[in-house]
Amino acid sequence: MTNQSILLGSMLLSPLLFLLRGQPRYWAAILLHLTVIVASSSAAISVFQGQAWGVDTGIYLLGVPIRLELDALSAFFVMVINLTMLTGAWYSGGYLKPYESSKSAIELSFHRFTYLWLHLAMIVVVMVPQGTPFLFAWELMTLTAFILVAFEWEKPESVHAALNYLVQMHVGFVFILIGLFLIQYQGGGSFSFSGLAKTQMPVQAFLLLLVGFAFKAGFMPFHTWLPHAHPAAPSHVSGVMSGVIIKMGIYGILRCVIYLPKEHWMTMGATILIVSIISGVMGVIYAIMQHDVKKLLAYHSIENIGIIGIGIGLGMMGYALGHPVLATLAFAGGILHILNHSLFKSLLFYSAGSVYQQTHTRYVEKLGGLIKKMPYTAFLFLLGALAICGLPPFNGFISEFLIYYGAFSHIGAGDMNEALILLTCILSLALIGGLAIFCFTKVFSIVFLGSSRSSATTGAQEVSLSMLLPQGLIGLVILAIGLVPGFFVHYIEQVAGLYLPDASLPHAYLDTLRYVGIASGIFILLLVVLILLRSIQQRRVEVAYGPTWGCGYTGADPALHQYTATSYADNFVQLAEPILGVETHYTPFAETEIFPHTHHFERHQHDPMEANLVEKPGNALLYYLQKSAVFQSGKLQHYLWYGLLFLMVVGAMSYLKIL
């Protein structure tokens, strides 16, 4: 059997999910996912081994024959999609259990069905080279994701978030469509991305496509759907959304960059770099303000998309400036970060989902002390948090290190402008890293450490093994990339090679990566030895337990003595207030208030970009649309008049030869 017929077979078998119930349905879904994974991954692996893979399916779509093709870029994305979709499906088995009583069987079947089709749609998106089937698969991906986000449709905010997503995706879709039309009618020759190489308007077309894909990827200022859709979706869908769906936007951009003529790489690279730096820094700054754990993670997705974009933009500029080594390192760093982010972000969403399942709240100020009730979930969240902050010995460090390494190696190689560009990249990465540490120490401490802050955590207990195992698998891959980066970068290099066909790839940096892996290994060894030594010492001494030092004041509830997320973020808010859009509401103490009574303090953060770029124009549009509602009078006579007027206008226009 060929790969494409297996894919087709799993498509045809997918309605079977409606016939099954409970555990069999779960296993059938897993089996179908595995079929898709085997079929697509085997093709991807053969591509990585140097064999080209491409088939004509013989199916026609609007007169265009569908051809499936894989190059290194597509193959890489196939692997990323498969891994995250598998862990998501696996994790959902336990996560959806509580919904079995509240949701009807058909709803759950439909959920699994759309999840499978999302998987298929994404695989097809990265496999088809022609524009028409690409757009169809792209739309299918958007629609299935929309249905998945609206899973809890009885909650108004879920529907609102899903609709917000749907509308914004279609605005992006229009940009991609116009971009492709521009390519076709301005000398590109075909309705596909490869036409960028031939069209007379490559810059305009590329910018249109860039905007279209930026909506999907969540680059600022096109990110405003993300912080709504991620919290509203069930956690395995949030993990998949942040892990791979937004990466499809990055795929689109990377696909277009391949065909963009090299003389435009400087300007377009600079554009991507600037947008990415803004996304990276602002994303993490907004994240610090969030008190909804999934919304916080959504802003971190924007930040990480920024890091990926810094790699891509710097790679393009590096090539244009004549530094193939810098280009290789930056591209490799950016592309590896796609994989890395899909790993640690899905891990963070899954473990945050476990917390939500047990406590029924995402509001961090109601949580606390969960590390004792959910030790494994806490450990996995911590692993994800360390990885996303780019700390060794985990995977996030490797991708950021590649970009740093490229930048530091070339900072003295060019003139002042180059040095300033590279210093800006270094500084942004350092700033993002520092802010991410600030943010994740906040969220981890408030959710998992200290004492419980409300009754929400009372019934919490460790989640089932079927939810922990997929997270453990992701954790292992995270550690593996941190310890043997060379193995993974070897494949990434093939992807990066697509962008630098005429440059011989340098290999010295692979040695450096090996040393990084060794240093990380030594660190872990050292830690293990120290822990052993400590356990020997602990056996000899007496250990006592007591309450936390309260400065001699033990009367109050320990939960009230703790730092909260608001207070943790407070000293940063004071620094960054001008760009944050923070609103603080409180009743101040009166001078005569000797015995203080209850006071309230509330702090909200509004995304200024959302307010100015989405809400204001949207409201203005709504205003004029409402004005036009006078035509909808509900009287038949008026509607007949409209019909007559229309006919008269058409008649007049054809008489005047306008039509």
Partner: protein, 303 residues
Amino acid sequence: MSILLYLLYTCCALLIPGVIAITKAKLSGRKGPGLWQPIYDILRLLSKGSVYSTTTSYLFQYAPLVNFAATLLALAFIPLGDIPGLMHFQGDFVFFAYLLGLGKFLLILNAMDTGSGFEGMGANREALYSMLVEPAFFIVMGSMALLSGHNSFVDIFSQFQDTSQYAILLGFLGAYILGQIAMVENSRLPVDDPRTHLELTMVHEVMVLDNSGFDFGIIMITNSLKFGIYAGLLANLMVPIWLPLGFRLGFALLISLLFGVMVGLLESFRARNKMARNPQFILTLSAVSLLFFFTVMIIANRI
């Protein structure tokens, strides 16, 4: 050779707290403790049992060890001129900086694990300050990489002094910035005062308030090692590379001790910043390091 260097830095690191204490004692007219007193304190702590808060979890017990391991490994990257550290590879200072970041991350969690408002305050302040100081280090290293054309500690420091006749000047400016970074990273004046007696105004001291016994000893050693790391970096900038080997090692030891004396002097004559002024102070450091960067660009004929 690298092992000898590592041992030298470790010794310097362990001596610096004693030197600081002696300096401060002499300047305030006290007899003061002996040079070895901080080491005795650490040894005493290491043999003791701990009192754990019932609020804390397993993280609380292992976080100081992670910080210690990270700092021990970070020290292994510090070279002396062309003598490499125990470990070196291209871009090693990025690894170095992020390794210290890992230690700090865990130490913050260690403080937050106690569920105490005081420790939250300290951890929160330390998180903010170390975030703000990070860019300064990267600008200094970026400038050095630009000037020398290399990207690892040992390559940079072995080439740095030969790059131009102004290198010694740059060395002193770099040493000033790194010295200030060291003060922030080690929570000393003017950002934090280790002598302060009120929990509300502490930063690092209040952060480790609930640690005791062995774990507290580990935290004390880690603090000393951090001094050793920065003293080592200062030595790299100031020790002339053409001196014979023995003199260079001696010079490095001298600089470490002088660094301790400087800290003692500063802490004796300077008052601490107002807490709200600290971010501004630390950001000024980044501004000074940008000045360093532009000076380097002028010297390297890039402007």
